[in-house]
Each structure stands twice: as structure tokens, then as C-alpha cells.
Amino acid sequence: MINNDKIKIENVNLYYGEFHALKNINMNVKEKEITAFIGPSGCGKSTLLKSLNRMNDLIEGVKINGKMLLDGIDIYKDMDPTMLRKRVGMVFQKPNPFPMSIYENVAYGPKTHGVKSKSKLDEIVEQSLRSAAMWDEVKDRLKKSALGLSGGQQQRLCIARAFSVNPEVILLDEPTSALDPISTMKIEDLLVDIKKNYTIIIVTHNMQQATRISDKTGFFLHGEVVEFDETEKLFSMPKNKKTEDYITGRFG
């Protein structure tokens, strides 16, 4: 089966004030695959991720040009950011559940987008928590504060929260960097399991993580995509010397 291109990035340049953070990025992300971005800190991988649902809009002095297309539609020109973010969800580096109950955390998104019926909300909450593989853990304490959960549970709750608005793409910004190995494993299993329904892009520091779960990997350095290929190929026979240096641990 050949998947379609979900996201097309064409000649994207991004500046923070004077700083040229992304240089002429071109990339196609396929539907229902996991794409990993790797590279040393400050290489631009998180910046690119955040510009895919326009979270960079919040930062003062950001200028972006080039095209980013979601299903062929320019997300900076022809799409409302709130609608974009509904379709392209995001999970952050540090778990950031709202200081509300577990239930309210998951119900927040659909409520915001206009779901009013209690039974509908109940259904969405259960469905989202099941997709995040944590329904059984929390079904008896939905009314308890989300801040009482462990770090790993909080992060899975944030993933469930991202599911709740029925997105097409999920962006994850180093989602396991603050977690212990067992929680990390659970989240990796979860991502592999859900890729049949979602297009996933994950930024990671951890190259093993990229090899374990991703179909494609992009290697970033100094704001450029050095190499973008199938994960297996990129790690077994990198075409670029810099990629090779990085994955064999010679720098970064």
C-alpha cells in the first residue's frame, strides 16, 4: 500500500529576529507513518515541529516563508490556526496536564470545539483514554486531579487529550525525555499501535527510539535537513558523512 503525502514542506525558511533558524527545508511526510526528527540541540528540529501547527506564532519576532501544506492546503495562508491545531495535535516535552480532573482534561478539547452533550463527552473521554491505553488505570478516578498522576501517566493523559479532538496528525516534541524507561516503553508501544489511524511526527534526542518506532527519519543540523530517508536506510547506510558521524556518536 502506498500512502499519500499528508504534509508537504516546500522551501521553508524561518527566522527568530535576525537568527536564521530553519534553512530551506523541503520534506514530505506520508500519511499513517511515524516520522522522526533527530539531531543535536538547537538544530531546528523542534522549531520545524512547532511550525507545523503554528505554535511558533506565539513567539514574538518569528518570520516564516515558504509553504507548508496539509492535504494540499497552505496552513499559513488558507487555514485558521485553531482549526489547524484541531487537525494537527501536539504533545509537549514536559507533561502539561491542566490543573483539573482527569476527565476535564480530556473533555476540554471537545468542549472547546462545541461538544455539549454529556453522553457524547463521556464517550469521547473513554475512547481517548482507551486509545492512550490508560482507561483501565484511571477509569475509577476520573474525577481526581490530573496532577496526582505519575509523570508517565501524565504524559499519556496528554496524548489522550490530543486524541480527544480527533486530529489527523500528532506532533510529539521529545515526549519521553522527562520519563523513566518503563513509561517510555509504554508510550513507544502506544505510538506504534496508533499509527494505523494517525500521522505521527516525533522529535527525539534518542536515536534508539527513532530506530525502534519510526518509518522515516530526518537528520537536522544547524537549521538544515542533512538527510531524510527511511529509518532503516538512514541508520544502516547513511549517505551523508555528517549523518554518519552523528549516528555513530562522533559528535552532538
Partner: protein, 291 residues
Amino acid sequence: MELVNAEKNLRKRKLISLVLKAGVWLCGIMTVGILIFILLFILLRGVPNINMEFLFGTYNSDTLSAFSSIVTTFEMILISLLVAVPIGVFCAIYLTEYAKRGNKAVKVIRLAVDTLAGIPSIVYGLFGMILFVNILGFRASVLSGICTVSIMILPVIISSSEEAIKSVPDMYREGSLGLGATRLGTVFRIVVPTAMPGILSGVILAIGRIVGETAALIFTSGTNVLESPTLDLFASQRTLAIHMYMLASEGLPHSKDMAFATGAILILVVFLVNLATTKLAGRLGRLGNDK
């Protein structure tokens, strides 16, 4: 599993968001508007009535001069500060430099300072009347007023000083102690001078509080007014704020004009106080950034 038509909802949501945004802007503008209204109202009618006779003349039913009240206000500020500033600053030094963490006494002292800060002026006034005017026999006098406001301004001096001393970077202390200075020497030569802008801003806030105080003074220093100024601590003599209250409650057109004039002076003082504290706070803020 699309549950609602999110696109259709978007217009409604955008509208609500716009209304909320307009609401917060409106409330921000309204707050500034109220302030400007009050200031202009008092100043426009007050300033034209300020003249030399009002400021420096003898008090009688024609001049309604504020001279004696002005002098008493200054006297009260000066002596209250002399009493309260050392106590307040020393208290802050104890809390920040000497008290051990989690000390029971510290908890009690903090509770006391918080309580003092929350007590209404009128309760201070009652207390001053009972203790200073009646029991200690100071009568209704400037002295009773000074005793009362000295207690009242303690919490503001303590909290500003504490805040300021806390913001002095530890490396200053370490530097001084490392050069062989004693703890006490470090406190007085390094910590207090560095914290001075913050301490001063507390002092200035206290001045503002004394100048504007009415309820605590009505039954302690009293509403009496002398023809010409006196520094006699045992005299009963009103301050500026009480002068304004008495003129305002008389209800005659002339006294009302003079109430406006007094109000204008009070506002001018408050304005200066604010300006000074902002400047000092700015200096302290820069100090904190050096860390």
C-alpha cells in the same frame, strides 16, 4: 468520529472571544478612566483655590487655612518614622538574617505582622483612644496620634524591608564575611545599604499612609484646629486629611472649595509618593537582576 461541525462552531467561538477581549480592554480602560476622573475632579476645582493665605495664613472661619494642619502632618510623619523605621527595619533584619528557618517565633511574628496589616484604621483609632488618650493620659493630642500611626505603619515598613533584604544576593554577604567582617558589620555595611532602595520605598509608602489617614486619628490627635502652627506634642491639632474631612462635612460653599484645595494637596503628595516608590523599586529591581 467527527462529533460536531467544528468549522461551523468556529464563527460563534470567534465572536465570543472577541467579546471577551473587548471586555478586558474595556475594564482596563475603565480603571484608568476612573482614576483620571477622580484626579481631574479634585485638581480642577482644588488647585485654583490654593493660595498663600490658605497655605501659610492664620486659621479663621474666613481663611480656613491649612497651615497648622500642614505643620502637624509633617511633625507626625517625622516622629512616627523615627519611631517605626528602626523597629521595622530591625524586625526585618531579624526575620531575614538571624531567625532560623522554621523557628516558632518567626511564625508568630509573621502572623502578627500580617494581622497588623489587616486591621482597619478605625480599630487602630479605637485602640489609640483607649490606650494613649485615656489610660496613658496623653489626651487627644498629636502625641497620641503619633503613637497610633507608628504602630499602623509598622507592617508596611517590615514587609518592604524584608523583601528588599531578601533580594540582596548572598554573594555580597559571603564576600564581606570572607574578608573577615563580623556578621553585624556585614548587616550594617553591606546588607542594609544594598537594600536601601527597598527600605526607602517602604518608608515612602508609610508616609503616604500617614498623610492620607483619617479614621485612626479622629479620636487620637483629634479634629481641633489651632490658629497658627504648633509643634507642641500635647496639643490637639488635626492633620491635613482630617482638615479636609472637617471642611467637607461642614457643607458651606466656601469650606467645600477649601476641601477641594486640601484634596488637591493630598493628591499631589500621593502622586510624589508613587513616583518615588516606582523609581526606587526600579533601582532595586536592577539590583536583583545582577545576580
